[in-house]
């Protein structure tokens, strides 16, 4: 029995909006056929402080404009007035949900520009912290996609396990959300005793979660009905719109910095990022499910291979007046959302001359999202946005 037809409620709106000779929609608000609708900045589906100015015709979106500017932080600018070490507490807040890549790219820029070699043990610990960060994000990110269709149950499951991962972060780094673990030269601590055992117990729960969430989401007629075919990103847009990470891999394009430009210990780990081609919300969500599975495997590999002891931090000049030679660099890593990079310019003083964060949310949530929302249903806005894993703090740094 094909159930698809049973759930087809879409009204025929083929004559709206009217198009002009150039194929552009003619939107005349005084015609009373169109309505402005703001989604955000306080909407729970907007994953942060950002808003979408939607122009709708009935429940169909005909135009969308992304508005940022609600965070007022100016971190990049603040860092130009901070000593390098003082940039850290600022920098980690650039993407709140996944702070560790912030720490890593800032450290890596400083290390590259000042020629510091990070000790072996510290490199393993950094790799671990970055994968734990991804794990913690995806435990909410994967079920969160179903949440946008009002299926909140999986999110509860994931959030519980995420809390346990935060416990691991707490014992490793001293913090649950802002870890301040990766600093120039290395990291701030070795694994505490018994860490691996406790982590393995948590990973077993993630294994179970992966099965359960698969049953709950990916083999769920409602989820499929709403996600399959929704917001397809044609493959030729990938470059045009600057699409990264899982969103690119769902369109069949292999974009994963861990694989394409291995850093830290990734070249010593065995993994193959998942790709598929449907490029719709369902495909992007499925890529994230596979990413979660791969992260669990990577953490196991890291814990098996990493040394238990060793230097955790290379000596640096005195951080109170560390001057870094004139130079510039771009350093990147793979965050759960895709390529996450930092461009840093130094002028020989004790503060960066310019810091620029390049995260996938910027392109994903502005140009790409605006395009994808045309002709989408209002009810799908959050789902489309979440499928791109946009993080507004990362846009407005």
């Amino acid at each position: 029995m094909d159930l698809t037809k049973m759930f087809q409620f879409n009204a025929d709106r083929s004559s709206y909006p009217e198009l002009d000779a150039n194929g552009k929609p003619i939107i005349d608000l005084s015609s009373h056929k169109y309505l402005k609708l703001w989604q955000g900045p306080q909407h729970p589906g907007v994953t942060g402080n950002m808003s979408l100015e939607l122009t709708v015709n009935g429940d169909e979106i005909v135009e969308s404009k992304t508005h940022v500017g609600y965070l007022h932080r100016g971190f990049e600018k603040l860092m130009e007035r901070r000593k390098f070490i003082q940039c850290f507490p600022t920098c980690i807040r650039m993407c709140v949900a996944e702070p560790d890549p912030n720490e890593y790219i800032l450290s890596a820029c400083i290390e590259e520009l000042s020629g510091i070699e990070v000790p072996e043990t510290a490199q393993w610990l950094r790799t671990l912290a970055l994968e734990m960060a991804r794990l913690q994000v995806l435990l909410r990110g994967v079920p969160g996609q179903a949440g946008t269709f009002s299926l909140g149950l999986g999110y509860q499951w994931g959030n519980y396990i995420r809390d346990l991962i935060l416990d691991r972060f707490e014992e490793l780094t001293g913090g649950r959300v802002y870890h301040m673990y990766i600093l120039p030269g290395g990291v701030r601590g070795l694994l505490p005793d018994g860490f691996k055992k406790r982590m393995e117990e948590n990973l077993k729960l993630v294994d179970e979660f992966l099965v359960n969430i698969n049953d709950l989401m990916y083999n769920n007629i409602v989820f499929k009905q709403r996600a399959v075919g929704l917001a397809v990103i044609p493959v030729e847009w990938i470059d045009q719109y600057g699409v990264y990470g899982p969103a690119a891999r769902a369109a069949g394009i292999m974009r994963d910095v861990r694989k394409t430009h291995p850093y830290l210990k990734y070249s010593e780990l065995d993994f193959e990022p998942y790709t598929t081609t449907a490029s719709d919300v369902y495909a992007r969500s499925l890529v994230r499910w596979h990413d979660l599975k791969m992260t669990v495997d990577l953490i196991r590999q890291i814990m098996a291979k990493m040394p238990d002891k060793g230097e955790i931090k290379a000596p640096t000049p005195n951080v109170m007046h560390w001057r870094i030679p004139k130079g510039e660099t771009y350093v990147k890593c793979e965050s759960s959302r895709g390529e996450y990079g930092m461009y840093m310019v130094t002028d020989g003083s004790d503060m960066p001359r310019r810091v620029n964060l390049k995260g996938p949310s910027y392109t994903h949530a502005t140009a790409l999202l605006e395009r994808l929302l045309i002709n989408a249903n209002i009810a799908d806005t959050a789902a489309i946005m979440v499928s791109l894993a946009t993080c507004p703090p990362e846009i407005e740094r």
């Binding site: 159930l3 490793l172 001293g174 802002y178 301040m180 601590g189 359960n212 007629i221 000049p317 109170m320």
Partner: protein, 602 residues
Amino acid sequence: MSIKDLLTPFTAWKRITKEPVTIRDPFNDRPGAERYRGFHKNDVNKCIGCGTCEDICENEAIDMVPFKDPISGDSGLRPRLDYGRCCWCALCVDVCTTNSLTLSNEYTWVTVDPEDFRYTPGVDKKAWDDNEKGWKKPEGSYEFYNINRVEMHHLHPEDRDKSFVEMVKGYSREQAIAEADRCVECGICTATCPAHMGIPEYIKAVRHEDMEEGLRILYETNPLPEICGRICTHKCETVCSIGHKGDPLSIRWLKRYIADNVSSDKYKEILNTKDLSNNHKKVAIIGSGPAGLSAAHYLALMGYQCTIFEQYEKAGGMMRYGIPEYRLPYDSIDKDIDYILSLGVDIKYNTRIGTDITLEQLNKDYNAVFAGTGLHLGRSTGIPGSDNEHVYYATDLLRQITAGEEIEVTDQIVVIGGGNVAMDITRSLARMQNQKFGKVNIITTALEREKNLPADLEEVVESREEGAIINPGWAPQSIEIENGRPVGLHVIKCNSLFDDTGRFNPQCDITKKEFFPGSMIVQSIGQGMDLSFVNEDFKKDLEFGSRGRVVTNAYFQTSVKWFFMGGDIIEGPDVIHGIANGHKAAIGIDNYIQGIDFTPAK
């Protein structure tokens, strides 16, 4: 899509049989992890108030506030936290120079008064003060600055024990920058330095390779940087905050690095002293030691015509006639002094006040007089035999060595004294024995036990490296004389020097005796002052305090308004006190001559 897709999600129902995972009771206490970054703690008796935590905190969550029981080497401040600003990054903990600052693993704090969230850890008592858990920098794992000193190259004992060549080589450019990098700019050194030199500032100039700026900073408070850069007693280094976890900064060697790296022909331009004004007022200065030179320098900058009267042939006082050349080469002394003289300071050598010119005469001819005559009278042990002509005072011998006079050096020498002067004469005579006999045979003995020797440890170590025997813990009893010459020193064991009340009261064990053979004995148990240049009539007007010292006010003015005194005869004894006194006295003299009322006598 299939019927399976309709049914599979219902597998979620199996969870209904599972234990709920949420904690039912929100009042259950959940302790933070071992390393948790919770509320701050500070061991205020270990903290020195260096303020580095305040400097690193980008949130400006820390303010340094006055503390009621500071100790010496302490800024008198302690960090106060503002939890309206703190983000618990713990950078303050990691940078702390004493490891006094830590975080507890406590993270809940409910109070009705928001002002409570500003508090001084360790002073304002908190429930977590005794909590041992929480963030501490992992022991020995990393530091935010190098706590180890950049090694200074010294001549090896075999390369120095026969000559008076300077033994400390000085830093190279790379070494100096690396050493200067270790400073955290707390300024505790500045507070401790008698001359209050701008130490963090000149160290910064070394870091930035700006020698000219460095020199300007040095001369603000110290006109003898080549000298102090070599032999200063460096009180600053004993309080350096980096010294609490590692080696203190080599402040002295960094000062030397600046002075060594600016050639003297550039001084006037850099220090902007080419055209000094002249106020046609005259000041007489007795003695060309650091006190006199410093006073002359700062008075000259203010436009005064200064004349220094020096009884010896050359200027420098004990710096030239006491400190041996291997520690302080004469050309370094000359570089500093020549610059001061180039400012128009006149010096009359071989002129002794009291005999060649009277103090009264100076009063008539000059607007004010400053005396920095130092401690030049050797103190005798007074034991039998000490009046023999082959029993010497260390300072006399050292002066003769400098003056190039022939001195007696026998193949077996005993030195009495455990201070730095004793080490200086020991090491000088050891070099001369080596030159003359090809071997060293010197015993240096002192009342104090090894661990209480007043000499710097490095002096003792280096004396031994050069072949001298340092044998402390003995009280000299008598000098054995045969045929009009000493043959050795009789000593008995000295167990303690001070009684319970802290009074000097040596306790000896007469059953433990020792004889140190020596055909020449040197006494080095301190120096006294010679105030014979002040006649008895005039002395009546001077106010004397304890231990026979003249009382002066904070500007080193005596009870006779036109007469100022400083250096060893008032404070010290070391070069930097002399410099500081001379500078302060210069300001006092200026005020006096201008008729400005200044501080009352201290």
